[in-house]
């Protein structure tokens, strides 16, 4: 049976009726229409479904929508401001860090959460923090360079 839950996504509150066995990624994509988070492996391996939950990147394919009730969710659609793209998004465009784009939203969100916590990470810090986001185009070098270019 569907239950009504309140989800806070990109600072907007949604009242959504969800099934107990619906994952957060499915609700975000199919109920809210936010398709930035992708469905790749659906097993928590690839990171294409990454969203920020209370500021921390998580695999939204492993979170039940009902468990996300009351938590603050941010998706790739929510990090742009009136001033334009988020600096990490802008860097991905400038450095050619986007190829097919399937991993980009996850990569950008994970990198954003790293930079929010540590504005001046080493290359090793960047590589370690992105180790749960796989790029099927193997464009890792440009991705690392893009994130590095945002640091002071």
């Amino acid at each position: 049976m569907k239950k009504l839950i309140r989800l806070t996504v990109n600072d907007r509150e949604y009242d959504v009726a969800v099934l107990p066995n619906q994952t957060l990624v499915d609700v975000i994509r199919y109920e809210l229409g936010l398709t930035g988070a992708k469905k790749g492996c659906e097993m928590g391996d690839c990171g294409s479904c990454t969203v920020l939950m209370d500021g921390k990147p998580v695999n939204s394919c492993l979170v039940l929508a009902m468990q996300a009730a009351g938590r603050k969710i941010q998706t790739i659609e929510g990090i742009e401001t009136e001033n334009g793209l988020h600096p990490v998004q802008e860097a991905f465009v400038q450095k050619g860090a986007i190829q097919c784009g399937f991993c980009s939203s996850g990569m950008i969100l994970t990198a954003k959460s790293l930079l929010d916590k540590n504005p001046n990470p080493t290359e090793q810090d960047i590589r370690k923090s992105l180790s749960g986001n796989l790029c099927r185009c193997t464009g890792y070098q440009h991705i690392i360079e893009a994130v590095k270019s945002v640091t002071p």
Binding site: V63, M66, Q67
Partner: protein
Amino acid sequence: MLLPKFDFHAPETVNEACQMLSEYGLKAKLIAGGTDLMVNMKKKILAPEQIISISQIRELDHLDVSGDRILIGAGVTVADLCESKTIAGYLPALGQGANNLGTPLIRNLATIGGNIGSARPAADLPPGLMAYGAEVVLQSKAGIRTLPLDNFFLGPGFTALQPDEILTEIRILVPPAGSGAAYVNIGIRKAQDCNLVNVASYFALDSNGIIQNARVVMGCVGPKPFRAVSAEKILIGQKPDIQLFEKAGEAASADSQPIDDFRSCATYKRSMVGVLTQRTLQQAWTRIKNQE
């Protein structure tokens, strides 16, 4: 990928969760981080009718030093362990396990209680915890019992946890002065990998610099993480040095019971047990010397 149909419950307290478990018994599964259960449900290995979420229960989130004990709530995430100064200061071997578990995304979800409760023989946290002599607290409607972690694991996926019990807390005595521990794991990749072999070692020196207590714990080389008893015997009563660590490594190799599988052959795992035992003992010793 479809999940089985189930009802979802989100109790606010451990008592409420225990009440639900006693009602539903084997039909129910607890979910915290979900990084193990969700995958098993998607693979159709598990199909519980009732899911009881414990991730919103605040009384499972503590990480404190209380008197001579360190108390860790079962709901503490692996990322919290990585960032905790208490863990880095008192229990660095547990911190090493936490830092090597899964990926940053998984670590933000996965909990210490889940990593113990899922009882995978290759899990990253149990060897360090057992090396520190951790106890687990199991709560049910009937009351609370404690069990040494050594006696908690029964086999792959099997534990002493009864269907109506919840693992609520991990208790560890503050390691005494003159003791040190370390954890090392090896796998094919650095992240998102199942370990090939993992070892944690702990030892404590008396005032004369003699090893008075030692624990060596091996993962991936048996149906559950277990102690290398003959390695511990070799260490106790001796002064630490490289030759002694080598002998302990050989003994641990002999104690291990690895199997051939697609990850590697048993011969390789057995010889790596020896290498990792030596490395962990060496690191533990360096940590002791750095305290002085």
